[in-house]
Every structure is written in C-alpha cells, then in structure tokens.
Symmetry: C2
Subunit: 155 residues, 2 copies
C-alpha cells in the first residue's frame, strides 16, 4: 500500500526508518509496562541514558538531545517524579543542580536496554546478524554517527 501510494522511493525510505523505530519502541514499551515501569516513554529512557553518560544538568541534557533547556528541564521533572533521577545542588557552582541516575533509574536502563537488545536479536535472527550489522553501519555512516562507539547521545 505504501508502494502504491508513495510515488517517491525517498519518501518511502523515510517512512521505513520511522516505522522501524516505532516498531522497536512500541514493543519495548509494552514489556516495560508489564515490568512495573508503566508510564515511561521512549524519550525518558533515552534521556536517562544521556544523563547517565554525563549530561548532569538540564542545560547540558538539552544540548545533547538537541532540545531547549526548558524542554530538558520538563523531561527531568518527569524522570524525577518517577524516581529515575534525583537532583542535588552543585557545591562548585550554585547555579547548577546536578543530576544523578537513581538505582531505580539504572534498573530501567538495564531492563529497557535488554528489551531493545531482545528486539534487535529477533531482527538479527530474521535477516542475519551480519546483514543487520551492515545495516547499522550504513545508517551510522549516513546519519553521521560513528558506528558502535555509541557517541550519539554525547554531543
């Protein structure tokens, strides 16, 4: 149906990429809810990973996620409400509130990561692990990410 409709293989490719993302995320969300992390959304998990990777202030998180610091602050407020992060004043800079991932936050990261990995390995089983790795390598290159050093959320 897409093919009949799109008349543009470029537009179709875009849809395929978005569809792939949704496909993974929806599945993970369902499982996460079953495991006591109800209400958490993909953006929260990715933000949490960024915090854990060193984005320990709202402004810095905003920069890494390419959103405004206000948007980041709102995400943090949600994360704090769920108990995934906490905030404490920075002794060396009174303007800052330093963010830390709580144990529950680390648990979400672990469980969420495992669920994402699970989807990924089912994909690998379907098209072959080497093929999936090639696909990832191409995407990394095309989107300007370095392939598996995972620097994407930093900077």
């Amino acid at each position: 149906m897409i093919g009949r409709m799109a008349q543009s293989s470029g537009a179709e490719l875009a849809l395929l990429l978005l569809g792939g993302f949704h496909s993974m995320v929806d599945e993970v969300n369902v499982e996460l809810a079953k495991r006591g992390h109800d209400g958490v959304r993909p953006v929260h998990e990715f933000a949490l990973r960024a915090v854990d990777a060193g984005a320990d202030t709202a402004s810095e998180l905003g920069r890494r996620l390419s959103v405004t610091k206000q948007a980041a602050a709102q995400t943090i407020a949600v994360l704090e409400g769920f108990g995934y992060v906490d905030r404490e004043p920075d002794p060396s800079d009174a303007r800052r509130k330093r963010l830390r991932v709580t144990p529950r936050g680390h648990e979400l990261m672990t469980v969420g990561g495992a669920l994402f990995d699970d989807v990924r390995s089912r994909w690998a089983a379907r098209i072959g692990d080497d093929q999936l790795k090639t696909l990832e390598g191409h995407l990394a290159r095309l989107t300007g990410r370095r392939s598996f050093t995972a620097e994407d959320l930093q900077d």
Copy 2:
C-alpha cells in the same frame, strides 16, 4: 571517554532509525520552506500522499495513518487551510465529505517527493545503490511494511 554510553546495541539501533528519519525529513523541510511551502510538516506531506492514494475521507485517512479519525480530521483541517486539499459532499453518501488533493497539493507532493528522492540518491551515492536497496528490503521485511495497510482497528 566516551566510555559508558548506551550499553545497549538495541537502543542504539532504535536511535539510528529515528536519526535516519529525522535526517531526511529535516533536510526536506528546509528546502520545502525555500520553495514556498513554509509551515508544512512531514506528517502533512505523508497524509497528503495517503489522500491522493485513495484515503478520501477523514475516517479512512485515520485508518491508513493508524490514528483516530479525529486526529485525521485535524490534519485535514490544516491541509485545507494551506490549500492542499479541498472537501466536497459525497453525493452518494450524505455522511461523507470527500477529500481531493488540489493542484497546489499535487505540487507539494511532486516537490516534496523530488526532495526526498534527492536525499535518497545522495545516500545511494555514499553507500552504493545496491546496498541501499538491500537496506530498504530488510527494513520493509522487519517492519512488516504495514504502515498504511487498512487493518488497524479503531473506532
């Protein structure tokens, strides 16, 4: 020290897919704005393609885009405001308002499609056309290619 980042290749794959989508869409949007289609968003263009492909009522559009008919109706209102579609009563069913893509709407589809194709061919130039085709094939298979199939149940 990149070090400790995603810890989940599955989560990274999801990010890669989303990044790929955004990468294409952002580029297309910038060019579209320069060509007199300011304010138009990717969802609008995809919706327009669905209308053109035969989703000629709000309810049907909702089904194809996997959103509620109310959401589809809102998108249509925007599209109508921009002059990309118009609506007329269906003589054979007084409940329906039939949607038609206007000439300006067709122009958007043409220009937008060309811009998406342009991004796609730059990608093909970077990784090879055969590689890109393989990537598309895999994604189509993995996502079940059902973005716009009409069997999404809702009200």
